[in-house]
């Protein structure tokens, strides 16, 4: 490579530095933090670093060797950060109850100036002679954990370390995840049902008619979320336009429940996500020569058969990428289910928000986020493969 082209390349690279910096600070770094939060567990090892280092050499049989005892005493003497210590106590107590009193007592004892000589923990408190406390400690010190990831799918490790399901009723993450995928699937199906004929129509007409059709589908994207949602309140509520019209026409006797339930969520989400379905199909159809349908007709294919054999297969790549796009966006939806859905329509994003903002359980929020990210990435990979498949359109 000549020096000039190398310099050119450097120049090009410099131009995208702001973008890269932006992505790194506002996308990659938070993402990394979230992924880390889901697997990092340094509450204990931060406060008890020497114990953490020493206890790994213990095989878990009987009681740990003396240097572990010594390290723990040293750690408790040195622990300055009362808040961190408190978190450690809480974390250990949740594993084995009784740890709170044990640690408080031990801490007080080792910090007592009068006990400056050698201290035997077993003499200080009988519980230090029980292996389960030491085992819990050993369990808690590794800096990485799969606890959150397991909890995200309603699983945990039992006392022996085997992965088991959480007790039924203890957590609803699996249910909510299933619900998320189901709602997204229903929305995708609804978008495909409306979007395919719509895109075909938009591709078939020309001039101002096409502009109007495309605008109609794009306007929801450009409208403020709150305005859109308020509009749905007006339309869908019991005294709303739709229910009013249905009753005036005598189709229903009483109001249909259309809002604060699954129906409302699906309607509102379909409305917003329709462009993601229409536009890919539309762009695929634009590349289909108009006279293919004429050719099919000249060879004896009636309109229905020509559609089935020619137009539909040709719009499939657009339909596939549109569906994946809608599905990917739908599984991450948060505000719309929160506003027009009921208690049983909250999707996984709401749960993530609950853990992150409500209970400050960043580990679990991160773990749920990681699962959502994984699903999206797999779908994105499929989308990437489909959208550049040369076989389907023969481009």
């Amino acid at each position: 490579m000549s020096r000039a082209s190398a310099r050119e390349r450097m120049g090009a690279l410099l131009l995208i530095v702001p973008l890269l910096a932006f992505l790194a600070v506002f996308f990659l770094w938070p993402l990394w933090t979230m992924v880390r939060a889901s697997v990092v567990d340094n509450t204990v090892s931060r406060v008890l670093p020497r114990t953490a280092a020493a206890i790994v050499s213990w095989d878990g049989q009987g009681l740990p060797p003396a240097q572990v005892h010594k390290a723990l005493i040293e750690d408790l003497r040195q622990a300055e950060d009362q808040q961190a210590l408190g978190e450690t106590v809480r974390r250990l107590n949740s594993a084995v109850s009784g740890f709170r009193t044990l640690l408080t007592r031990t801490t007080n004892a080792v910090r007592d100036e009068t006990n400056s000589g050698a201290i035997d923990l077993g003499d200080l408190d009988r519980r230090w002679k029980e292996p389960r406390f030491w085992l819990a400690l050993r369990e808690a010190v590794p800096p990485y954990t799969d606890r959150n990831l397991l909890a995200a799918v309603d699983m945990k490790r039992d006392a022996g370390g085997a992965i088991v399901s959480e007790d039924p009723g203890a957590s609803a993450n699996r249910l909510i995840m299933f619900r998320t995928f189901l709602v997204a699937a229903i929305v995708t199906l609804a978008c495909a049902t409306i979007g395919l004929p719509y895109a075909m129509l938009a591709a078939a007409v020309t001039g101002w008619k096409r502009t109007v059709l495309l605008l109609a589908v794009l306007v929801p994207l450009w409208t403020s979320l709150l305005v859109r949602t308020t509009a749905w309140f007006v339309l869908l509520q019991n005294e709303g336009l739709i229910n009013g019209a249905l009753q005036v026409l005598g189709i229903t006797d009483g109001p249909l429940p259309l809002i604060f339930n699954r129906v409302g969520v699906v309607i509102a989400m379909t409305h917003v996500l329709l462009p993601f379905m229409v536009l890919p199909i539309y762009s695929v159809l634009l590349s289909v020569p108009r006279n293919l349908m004429q050719a099919a007709a000249s060879m004896g294919a009636g309109p229905l058969r020509a559609f089935w054999r020619v137009l539909l297969p040709l719009s499939l790549p657009g339909l596939m990428s549109g569906s994946l796009l809608v599905y990917m966006v739908a599984i991450g939806y948060y505000i719309t289910p929160a506003l027009v859905g009921g208690a049983n329509d909250q999707m996984i994003s709401s749960v993530i928000a609950f853990y992150a903002l409500g209970t400050a359980n960043w580990g679990l929020a991160g773990a749920l986020g990681v699962i959502l990210l994984l699903v999206t990435m797999i779908l994105y990979f499929i989308y990437g493969r489909l959208s550049k498949s040369p076989q389907l359109l023969g481009a």
Binding site: L292, A296, A297, S298, G300, R309, L314, G394, A395
Partner: protein, 354 residues
Amino acid sequence: MQPFIQFESVSKSFGSMTVIDSLDLTIHKGEFLSLLGPSGSGKTTILMMLAGFERPTRGTITLDGMRIDQLPPHRREMGVVFQNYALFPHMTVAENVAFPLEMKRLPRHEIARKVARALDMVRLGSLKNRRPSQLSGGQQQRVALTRALVFEPRVILMDEPLGALDKQLREHMQLEIRELHKRLGLTIVFVTHDQSEALTMSDRIAVFNAGKIEQIDSPHAIYDTPRTRFVAQFIGETNLIEADVVNVQNGHATIALGADLAAKVRSGPELQAGQKALFSLRPERMRLGAEPAGDNSLGMTITDCIYHGDHMRVQLARGNFTFTARCERLAGDWTVGTQVVVSFDPRDCTVLTS
């Protein structure tokens, strides 16, 4: 030959624009008819109405005595070859060719047999599992042709099918289509704006201009005895000169081309002395020599010579009167400024009176 397809006072308007104005056209069974004209002359509209993609605003179209102008395209049994081929990109070559047979609901084994035979006929058997995008332009063209022929339609319609091919391939395909037409006895309606294509391939040519047929005749008649100024100018190259008919006798007329120039031409019954007329003479029908020869000999001066490889184009002048002649070679010592004698046969001249 019996009339096979008949257009009777067919008009077609798009909005306020009339594209075809009260057109009558008869197409015979088994003939190769070219619709030739500049773009916008209405020739493609005729084809679209025949295929059923457009409906006439007024008038009737019959095929074999049956009215077809209100029939939807899929019930007309016409094979159409489009300029862009319109092959189905999601199907293989064999699937494309099988499509019209499947629409006819033929048994599977019969479809397979017909597809194989048709593809072998155009030497595409080895490519049957390729997709259209994997074929060259010429191969795609042959697939489109095969697909239009395979279901034995009553008429084959071709809309500038060779327009996208390069010159050599186009000439090769012209021969191939001509050969298929002769061998299978097909009725072909062929739209083109390329006059040489129309001249080499057709049994008859209909020359279109502004929604009307200017002349419909054999290629020979179209070229040698154009009946209108448009046809004379559109087909081939010609020298057109405003002239006066001086006298008419014994099947010959004398035409005054200028103040001191006259030509003797063959005359039909329509010429009368004193008439204004348009004199047309093809460049290749002139002979350049040193001595006068035959009935018409004009002394002129060479003003320019253009070399074209297989022929020379010579500009000639006499006063403000000019001719373009085409000759295979010039005598070596003829250069710009040389005086020559231009001679031509009265039978090669055309006089238009309209």
